[in-house]
């Protein structure tokens, strides 16, 4: 195992105020690649500005701020300190930490950190080349900057929920906080881009990320269809996201398979995929010449969907998908967690579910990283920090405070 300093981001220190998934997920990735991420939490409220600290899922019947499953997942490989920012001695300690940090990260609603006395101008006074990355729903400027969001609200506002659904039904949207994941990923990218610039120029900056805006960038072709062609996404028959209009593919759908709530996804990219699929189907209708080209299949899309569904509904979803892939047709069972985590060589061979040790939770598996680096890869071994777990190490070893000083700060509830 390489030491942290030999890892890709081993010389980066982040003073981290992030929470939930949308923020904590960003610094998680950088910590896995070796950045020293120091999570700052409030000792008075037991870190509850991140509501996931005490939220389920839990491994057993125990409850409490050290036991949240999502929190553990999103904060692996980080250090944890507690600082009471309502106390001037706490604010001094934070200034010391910021002075030795490359990056300050947070995902409070717009303006919250500034009101605590640590807006960008304050940060720059502490360290002129600091990189400050804020991630909020609406961003720190504009008429709605004080409005609050969470993942599903971000997804609704940015257009992603609208684009996900079946015709003539309400939006299906996303059944989880997709934009917390993507918000975290964009935030990680923002930190990395700012670090690249600073390496070259010595210049820090403030990156004001709005996860709603980041989400809109994921609607691209639909936005251009409106701005160029004047065609709105809000129109009859739209959205229709189990079909594919861009690129156009028919058949392209999620079909019923044998069993209760079992489904299989099948996509024909072109005429030769269809020819291969038709051969597997082997029924007279599949060989009708009107289906030979895309235009013909598109004209008969509903009919094809219905015929396909009748054909798939008696088939095992895994066997059918494997049979189709064997003849070159893209197909996959709709996999639930057990399928993709326990029985899928695509994830196990990748090492996608690393085991971490957490002093209270025990040993649990967490999300890995979908990127492998050949020379110095990511490492995920340590679970999320306990409240103040690394106070001595960070305030003592890194910042040079004596044990007596720290004891006094602890007694005064500053840390």
């Amino acid at each position: 195992m390489s030491s942290r300093s030999e890892r890709p981001l081993g010389n980066v220190r982040i003073c981290d105020f992030t929470g939930q998934l949308a923020g904590a997920g960003a610094t998680r990735t950088l910590a896995a690649f070796g950045a020293q991420v120091i999570r700052v939490e409030d000792p008075v409220r037991q870190g509850r500005w991140d509501m996931l600290r005490g939220s389920g899922p839990f491994v057993d019947e125990r409850r409490g701020p050290e036991l949240g499953g999502g929190f553990n997942n999103h904060n692996v490989e980080k250090l944890g300190v507690t600082i009471n920012l309502k106390d001037e001695r706490g604010r001094d300690l934070l200034r010391e930490l910021i002075a030795t940090s490359d990056v300050v990260t947070e995902n409070f609603a717009g303006g919250v950190l500034a009101r605590l006395g640590f807006g960008y101008d304050d940060l720059r006074e502490i360290r002129n080349d600091i990189i400050y990355v804020s991630n909020s729903g609406f961003g720190h400027t504009g008429p709605y900057s004080a409005f609050k969001t969470w993942g599903p609200v971000v997804q609704a506002i940015c257009g992603l929920s609208f684009l996900s659904g079946l015709p003539d039904e309400p939006p299906a949207g996303w059944g989880y906080s997709y934009m917390d994941h993507l918000g975290a990923d964009f935030m990680a990218l923002a930190i990395l881009a700012a670090l690249v610039h600073r390496r070259r120029t010595g210049e820090g900056q403030w990156v004001d990320m709005s996860s709603i805006e980041a989400g809109i960038t994921l609607d691209g072709p639909s936005i251009l269809d409106h701005s160029v062609n004047g065609r709105p996404a809000r129109r009859a028959g739209s959205p229709d996201s189990n079909h594919s209009a861009s690129p156009r593919m028919v058949p392209h759908n999620i079909f019923p398979a044998a069993g209760e709530d079992r489904w299989v996804a099948i996509a024909c990219r072109d005429d030769s995929d269809w020819a291969a699929l038709a051969k597997v189907i082997g029924e007279a209708w599949a060989n009708e010449s009107r289906f030979d080209d895309l235009a013909g299949r598109y004209a008969a899309q509903s009919e094809l969907d219905a015929r396909m569904a009748r054909w798939t509904s008696t088939r095992d979803r895994f066997e059918l998908a494997a049979e189709l892939r064997a003849v070159g047709v893209p197909a996959s069972a709709v996999q639930q967690a057990v399928d993709r985590i326990e029985h899928d060589p695509g994830t196990s061979a990748w090492g996608l579910w690393p085991l971490v040790r957490h002093p209270e939770i025990g040993e649990v598996r967490v999300d890995g990283i979908p990127v492998h680096l050949s020379e110095a890869d990511w490492v995920i071994e340590r679970g999320a920090p306990l409240l103040g777990e690394h106070n001595d190490r960070v305030f003592g070893d890194f910042l040079g405070h004596t044990a007596e000083e720290l004891a006094a700060l602890r007694d005064a509830n500053v840390i």
């Binding site: 839990f58 990395l192 639909s222 269809d225 996404a233 893209p330 020379e375």
Partner: protein, 413 residues
């Protein structure tokens, strides 16, 4: 148009055209890297993706192509032709990053893989974006965005309360975009590592792995408790038996509204109660008594919902009050009115509607790009994040086939 610059100015990327990694190249290009997009003769097949300008199919009129290839330079190379292979090798020799979306084994078969081209170019970062990873046992399988999202987990969590309807693929080729954001993260991580070691490396990105770690509760529930989640209409899939209340409200003007996390704080319950009074609706909403109970106690923990019957009633009344008020107001009035009272909510906007929203336009998000081909400006989505020192920008429209051949391969450049 903003002049050259950006956070990644000075980095050169050679991108092999693909559909699934195109967004990664766009992210790097719009952040200031010089991205040279290499297409096969005749242009990459994704130039045939709809929609087209005025619905006229043409390789120069694909709006899919326009969106995903902003800020890039375009060249054509036949990687099976000797002279072009020489050009490709020369081009890679000048690059910091190669962005390779080819199928596993193709570049190796051409003798143009990372191991072939890094000799004498130790600094090279090679980002390979494939469905399952370069060496994965599933590496040869055919795939599309649909099959990736179905096999990778997102689809299982998305859809409707009614399970006779199929689960739903989120729209917009998100499987490709998730992987592309990770590819950009991997590329810059390797560049920062190179600053220290002087050496580049191989960055192996799996779209399947990326989808698998983008499922939030579904994976967490399984890993922590061994339970599966079950899809619900436009809200979090829940562990079985934990069907939550609807969060979608229909407003008086027929729009869908997401009513967010249920109100849990005394301030939120007071705000709801006062809002009902202001609208003179108190008499029509019999559960007001629970709102008043909520206003008098401390914040309700998520863990108590569904456990403590009174707290569950209070939370339920809060959600119902949101739905009820929404049914009496327009989407705009409910959204702004609710948010100004500290109640988290948001309309289900179509993409064209958020692009016209006053907040987004005040922040300058919509980005006009001049199209000499149409002789007008076209509005694109803007910056994924606002950088104060090195603004994101679209340097130029997507390239035509071979548009920058001369610029890129002229010896002086």
């Amino acid at each position: 148009m903003t002049p050259a610059g950006g956070a990644l100015a000075g980095l050169r990327v050679v991108e092999l055209a693909s559909d699934h990694a195109a967004f990664a190249g766009k992210l790097l290009a719009d952040l200031g890297a010089e991205v040279v997009l290499v297409e096969p003769p005749g242009g990459h097949h994704s130039r045939g993706y709809e929609p087209f300008v005025d619905d006229r199919p043409d390789p120069e009129r694909s709006l899919w192509w326009w969106h995903y290839h902003t800020s890039k330079l375009g060249v054509v190379l036949d990687l099976e032709d000797g002279a072009d292979v020489t050009r490709f090798r020369r081009l890679v020799a000048t690059a910091d990053i190669v962005l390779d979306g080819e199928a596993p084994g193709r570049m190796s078969a051409l003798g143009l893989d990372f191991s072939d081209l890094r000799a004498g170019h130790d600094e090279l970062v090679w980002v390979s974006v494939t469905a399952f990873g370069r060496d994965n046992p599933r590496r040869g399988e055919p795939f599309t965005d649909l099959t990736l999202l179905a096999g990778g987990g997102p689809v299982w969590s998305c859809g409707y309360d009614d399970h006779s309807l199929p689960p739903v693929r989120g729209g917009g080729n998100q499987g490709y975009q998730i992987g592309s954001v990770w590819a950009a993260i991997g590329a810059l991580t390797a560049i920062l590592a190179r600053d220290v070691t002087g050496r580049g490396q191989l960055v192996d990105v799996s779209l399947h792995a990326a989808a698998n770690v983008t499922t939030e509760a579904a994976t967490q529930a399984w890993l922590m408790t061994g339970e599966e989640v079950s899809r619900l209409t436009c809200r979090h899939a829940a562990r079985q038996g934990n069907v939550s209340q609807q969060t979608l409200a229909l407003t008086a003007d027929g729009r869908w509204m997401n009513t967010g996390v249920p109100p849990r704080t005394p301030r939120e319950f007071s705000a709801l109660s006062e809002w009902l009074d202001e609208l003179d609706l108190r008499d029509e909403f019999p559960e007001t008594v629970f709102l008043e109970l909520g206003a008098k106690r401390e914040t309700i923990a998520f863990g108590d919902i569904g456990v403590d019957p009174v707290l569950t009633e209070i939370v339920s009344a809060g959600r119902e009050a949101m739905m009820f008020i929404a049914s009496k107001l327009s989407a705009d009035d409910f959204f702004v009115g609710g948010q100004r009272r500290g109640l988290t909510c948001g309309p289900v906007y179509a993409p064209e509607e958020i692009m016209a929203d006053e907040h987004i336009t005040a922040r300058g998000f919509p980005t006009a790009v001049h199209h000499d081909d149409l002789d007008r400006d076209v509005v694109y989505p803007g910056a994924p994040f606002v950088m104060s020192a090195t603004p994101w920008r679209i340097a130029r429209r997507a390239p035509r086939i071979g548009e920058h051949q001369h610029l890129v391969f002229t010896p002086s450049s």
